[in-house]
């Protein structure tokens, strides 16, 4: 991987880290080629806490960039396996579940934001190398039971629709703001973090692109975690299932009787 060598930029980056620590919750910079890289990345919310009143969040990614480079920001969960029910036409007219499809090596959350359309920035081969964008992801994933290229592309398209419906897959181009201040170029993008994204570790990767090549990358992490009542309840549902079931039933019985008593006292019935 090529990196831009500049001692001055390291100094600037260091200064930025010292000057603005208060406004930043936690900075996590894992630049590849730390000693020489110009590019930095940080997520303002690198620890999203799911509490009782959680309704999604926003994550902004920002950092220092080199003038004259384009940027692609990819936010993704680790790749995994998804088993989904497949609908198809039966007898030519009726839509129903016709089987299950297994998608392999797919991230549950995947969003790509870029300064320009990614196809203008990188050749398909480069996009495939870094798994940037849906066409590249489509070639990256596996489908089981396996199907022909056309069928696979069709079902991957349906998979993307399914993910987009719960806002887990998203993309944008031209929304990254690049500003110049005191000779330093910084970028910034604010993204919606969907409440549908489950707890886990998410990786933010920023690619600097010049002349059709990725010249630098920087990474940052976003950790999504349940806290408080949400954490205890979901933990109990999994680890203490019998007690959880009994509590659910007893609460329901109690509520039913309670409301029945209230109505009798309230004279609603005769």
């Amino acid at each position: 991987m090529k990196t831009v060598n500049s001692e001055q930029s390291s100094v600037i980056r260091l200064r930025q880290r010292i000057v603005t620590p208060i406004t930043i919750l936690i900075i996590l910079i894992v630049s590849i080629g730390i000693a020489s890289a110009q590019l930095t990345a940080k997520a303002n919310h690198d620890h999203i806490k799911i509490d009782f009143f959680y309704h999604g969040s926003t994550v902004s990614v920002s950092g220092v960039t080199d003038p004259g480079t384009d940027l692609i920001i990819k936010i993704a969960s680790p790749e995994g396996h998804e088993k989904l029910k497949q609908k198809g036409k039966v007898g030519g007219i009726l839509w129903m579940n016709t089987g299950t499809l297994n998608f392999e090596h797919v991230p549950n959350l995947y969003s790509v934001h870029s300064t320009k359309n990614i196809e203008e920035l990188l050749a398909p081969k480069e996009l495939d190398t870094y798994v940037i964008g849906l066409p590249a992801l489509s070639r990256h994933v596996g489908l089981n039971p396996s199907a022909g290229e056309e069928e696979k592309a069709r079902w991957f398209g349906e998979f993307v629709k399914y993910k987009e419906a719960s806002k887990l897959y998203a993309s944008s181009s031209g929304r990254i703001e690049i500003k110049e201040k005191d000779g330093r170029h910084t970028y910034y993008i604010n993204t919606e973090w969907p409440y549908q994204a489950p707890p886990g570790d998410y990786l933010v990767t920023v690619y600097a692109v010049k002349n059709g090549k990725v010249v630098d990358t920087a990474e940052s992490k976003v950790l999504v975690e349940q806290v408080g009542i949400v954490k205890s309840l979901s933990g109990m549902a999994k680890n203490n299932a019998a007690l959880y079931g009994i509590i659910s039933i007893v609460s329901a019985l109690g509520a039913g009787f309670g409301v029945g008593l209230v109505f009798r006292k309230g004279g609603g019935a005769h």
Partner: protein, 306 residues
């Protein structure tokens, strides 16, 4: 105001489940159905994963049917003996039905068989109830007399069965095998179709067991209560699919709805209740037929459960 649901892993505006609970609880108190055939698809529509929707709904029905059974019991409209016999049958039927699903799955195309059975059942039951209650409403309006009960060959046959016993609350005498067998049939179908079966149990009690509609509603709720306790426990224990917070939000509405439904139901005649239920069942049938024939917006959905 939004709350996060720890098992469904999604956030929901609290007015949605409370409102849905109120509406479905009302139907429950009025007609003696659990309302899963309405609640589960509505919850899925609002972003709850299908498996969590079904499991949590059964938890919520425990509360709604307790509230409804209590309201009907206060005015003497629950036949506990009949309910108990139906439960025995339902329990055995449930066990058989679960095996039946395995057989269907092994045969392949299980979904097709299940969906078709469901639509046919809903359609036949709805149509029959609608025609029957419409004609008896008309008859009463014209002649203003209660027609003498005709003894059909079927009912004569039933009287020859052993273990005849009197169900005092319902005012009928049957062999106790009858509710056990028909409870079993409904139990099998309910298990295979993945629904509570209230919409099948109510017609069985009205037309085969010849119980008065108001006692049917109370007794149906009583046996739904026990079924849903069992289902809730199994879902929580084996599938971890019950969302406690969602269930609480739903039952806030449904327990009140069931009371209101029970009070309101007393002001309606049995035939009026039957005809409204028939219309609801037919509307649900039409909705499912549309779902089956119109192109869905998403061709993939979460796997697991029904």
């Amino acid at each position: 105001m939004h709350l996060y649901l720890p098992v469904a892993l999604t956030s929901i505006n609290i007015f949605i489940p409370v409102g849905l609970g109120l509406a479905v609880g009302l139907l429950s108190g009025l007609f003696g159905v659990g309302g899963g055939f309405l609640m589960t698809p509505l919850l899925i529509m609002f972003g709850i994963p299908s498996t969590v929707a079904a499991a949590t709904d059964s938890n919520q029905i425990v509360a709604a049917s307790t509230s409804g059974t209590y309201a009907h019991w206060k005015v003497g409209n629950v036949d506990f003996k009949m309910g108990f016999h139906l439960l025995i049958g339902g329990f055995i039927g449930g066990l058989v039905g679960v095996q039946g699903i395995k057989v269907l799955n092994a045969m392949g195309n299980a979904d097709f068989v299940i969906k078709m059975t469901y639509v046919l059942m809903l359609g036949i039951v709805g149509t029959y109830m609608f025609i029957e209650s419409l004609s008896s409403l008309k008859k009463k309006n014209v002649t203003q007399e209660t027609s003498p009960k005709k003894e059909s060959g079927f009912s004569k046959l039933l009287q020859t069965l052993p273990l005849q016993t009197e169900y005092v609350k319902s005012g009928v005498t049957h062999s106790m095998l009858l509710p056990i067998i028909f409870g079993g049939v409904v139990g099998i179908l309910a298990a295979v179709m993945g629904v509570g079966g209230g919409f099948l149990m109510v017609p069985v009690m009205v037309y085969i067991l010849r119980m008065p509609m108001h006692v049917v509603v109370g007794t149906s709720l009583f046996q739904i209560l026990f079924n849903c306790i069992e289902v809730t426990f199994l879902q929580a224990y084996t599938n971890h699919n019950v969302d406690f917070i969602l269930a609480v939000l739903l039952l806030l509405g449904s327990t009140v709805g069931a009371q209101v439904g029970a009070v309101f139901g007393r002001k309606l005649k049995g035939e009026q209740l039957k005809i409204i239920l028939a219309v609801i069942v037919l509307v649900v049938t039409v909705k499912i037929v549309f779902e089956l024939t119109l192109s869905p917006s998403l061709l993939l959905s979460q796997a697991g459960g029904h």
